[in-house]
Amino acid sequence: MAIAASTPEVPVKSERVTSDREVLALQARGVRRYFGETAALESASLAVRRGEVHALLGENGSGKSTLIKVLSGVLRSDSGEVLYYGDRVAFRSPRAAQRAGIVTVYQETLVVEELSVLDNVFLGTDGFFRHEDTREAEQSRAVAVLGELGFGTFDLERPLWTFSLAQRQIVTIVRALVRPWTLLILDESTSALDQEDRDRLFDVVRAAATGDRSVIFTTHRMDEVEQIADAATVLRAGSTAGSLTRSELSRQHVLDLMSNGQHAAELVLGSSPVRQHRTAVPATDVLRAEAVVLVPEGPSISLSVHAGEILGLAGLEGQGQTRFLECAAGVNPPVSGSFSIARNGGFERVSGYRDAYRKGIAYVPRDRKREGLFLAQSVLDNLALPNFGRFSRAGLIQRRRLLKWLHTYTDELKLDRRRFRGQVGSLSGGNQQKVLLGRWMASQPALLILNDPLRGVDAVTKQELYEVLRALAADGLSLLFLSTEMAELLTLCERVVVFHDSSVIAVLQDETLTEARIIDSMFGRKPDDPSDAA
């Protein structure tokens, strides 16, 4: 700004703006959006040219979906600006964005299962279509678009619950395509489609993106990017890491931008105390996964968790790591195979959640509000619930004994004893997480399974919890630690297991444990993959 003001050549600047106006369909600059204290977007920028198919890339939590929600009027940005065909816009609702011609297909397959295909396609257009278009006209429009996508045989009157997930996804795409659009946004809208359907969709999208019409899409699959993108923007931790033109679009380039080319060691040294490398004591197994199969006809997984280690689990959304964790905790049974835990000098098979707990496996679930805490109950109740039985005599809870027991853990977690009587719901997110962790630490498990436990926790608490988790491991407790944040895995874990397509694609440790390697593996690339050369 200051530079622009001091520059005498004002006409030049305005000329540049005019040319942007003619070339760009959409431009976002410095978009920032916080959820409480968590930054979803720090400073995201994006420029989409007219007639272009633009890929928006980045790892989980990098802010892609948030940016898309800002562009399509679902969320409002805290600051930054969005120019749409040169005009500054700030859509107040998805409807407003749609009226302007921005049509979005969201990641979640948003359909009304009870309604027919046709009703789902034209959902929310009433008032407009009810007056202007007859049902027959709607029908022929839907049939035309479905035909283009290769689904001409769809029975339009059948309720949507009778269709498969992929078919439902098609319906949400058709819903977007029948509307008058100038900018189509596809937020991971192809995840459920098979190769053939995807190719046809891409053909349609490719053909549609001409003249003034542009497309933005997000994906985790590099092959899709290579197939149809004219340009790409890579987000990293809520900010734009770089923009690439068609000629710059190589896998390596994209992955470098995503991971910032940083080596794990630098990252660790830069942020928090160095990982403690275990001394050369031979590793004893605590938990063994034996030929565990996560999905029908999927590959089998065998691995073991050692005593006193923090074993990291990584992977893109829905690649099987969460399912593996839940199977290990006994929440869900695997398709086949088994888990066994070291106990009484041997290994005992674990079957079911209760059995797992009895044999020393404690599970901290992912969504602490839905699956973890009792928000209207006291902090004390929340801490003590699974252990009330142990501290009761003749049915009555022995408060003093219970408190003494809990204090050993809550002091370690730096939880304020004076707040035990208050509702857990009145604590901050970080302290709530501590309560949840304290509950399961106090159960004295041999193996603690953590499903993304530091999500939505502020930076200070995060550091505290790092220390606590390290101390637990140092005391000989084993931790199975799933995280969606690279930095957490690199800071805490000695070994990281990366999941791809419901199987273990890599077990990284020591010098192979780098951010770049984790990301490579997440995207399904093995280190010796020949496509690496490109």
Partner: protein, 325 residues
């Protein structure tokens, strides 16, 4: 009116924490000033007597609401207990055998309610309504609607206004209610099972992951509700000293009202029996007041309904905690 409701919504916690407790003495003062002899000993005793009956019936409803359910079979079970006790005692069965059998039957009906609700994973509204009507219909079929039978004199005495508990000039049922109230309060606050009830109602998914046996909790709680409903039915038998399957019918509305007026949330996990006691005292006083000032039965029903809607409007919807965090 809308301003009051709006204000109350904003100060929701304050209102729920204050209004029910304030209403008990306020209603009492209104009673004294508008009805002659409202503060007399006999009037007080009858007030407490009616409160005891309702209060005992409300134990189960409160616990069930805490776990996030509702029990509409209470009137059916009360009627069943009343009829079965008087019939069997009239046939010459020993009284205590009759009592144990009736309470056992009530608990069984409750256990079925709890189990079915969990098994079918539905809100227990329809299930308990159905079992209640099965029990009610079953009793009528069994007796061919010929209600005969008797009750022992000491049972009549226990629920009579002139009844005495040993040297104390208070009907035994009131003392019994006081003892039950203390036990229930200890149960819900100080026992592991009591705390599990709250956890189950607050967040069933989390309770399961915290190793609470939800099905067990539901069976136990509904069984308790059935047992307490049966106890109420026994007391009713003493009260009217004759068989009457319909005797519990007003208790459908009244048990739920007392729980809600006290401030226990129908969403589960919040409130408790202490609040229900307050709700019972409010409801009984209101009924007495309306009768006392000579309002007809139909008008009473109407006014009670209006009042409950008004109170609920003031209490407001529990703000979802998740939205505050």
């Amino acid at each position: 009116m809308t301003e009051i409701v709006e204000f109350a919504r904003r100060k929701q916690a304050l209102v729920i924490g204050f209004v029910p407790y304030a209403l008990v003495p306020i209603l009492y003062v209104i009673g004294i000033s508008s009805i002659d002899g409202y503060s007399s000993k006999s009037s007080l005793k009858s007030l407490l007597l009616l409160s005891s009956m309702l209060g005992i019936a409300c134990v189960g409803q409160t616990l069930v609401v805490i776990i996030g359910g509702i029990d509409l079979s209470i009137p059916g079970v009360i009627g069943m207990a009343d009829v079965v006790l008087t019939q069997q005692y009239g046939k010459g069965w020993p009284f205590w055998v009759c009592v144990l059998m009736v309470i056992g039957l009530g608990a069984l009906v409750g256990a079925v309610n709890g189990y079915l609700s969990r098994l079918l994973a539905v809100y227990p509204l329809v299930i308990t309504l159905a079992t209640g009507s099965i029990v009610f219909g079953g009793v009528l079929a069994w007796t061919h609607a010929q209600m005969t039978g008797t009750v022992p004199d000491y049972l009549m005495h226990a629920v009579s206004v002139v009844g005495r508990t040993g040297p104390i000039g208070i009907p035994p049922v009131v003392i019994a209610w006081a003892v039950i109230a203390v036990l229930v309060l200890v149960f819900q606050r100080r026992t592991a099972i009591g705390r599990r009830l709250y956890a189950s109602g607050d967040n069933p998914a989390a309770a399961r992951l915290a190793h609470v046996n939800l099905t067990g909790v539901w069976i136990l709680t509904f069984a308790l509700s059935g047992a307490f409903a049966a106890m109420t039915g026994i007391l009713f038998a003493g009260f009217s000293s004759a068989s009457d399957a319909t005797v519990g019918n007003p208790y459908l509305f009244q048990t739920i009202s007392a729980v809600v007026i006290g401030g226990t949330s129908l969403l589960g996990g919040r409130g408790g029996y202490g609040r229900t006691i307050v709700g019972v005292l409010i409801l009984t006083q209101l009924t007495t007041l309306l009768i006392g000032v000579g309002i007809s039965d139909n008008m009473q029903e109407m006014l009670l309904g209006v009042l409950i809607v008004f109170l609920l409007a003031i209490y407001g919807r529990e703000p979802a905690l998740q939205t505050r965090i």
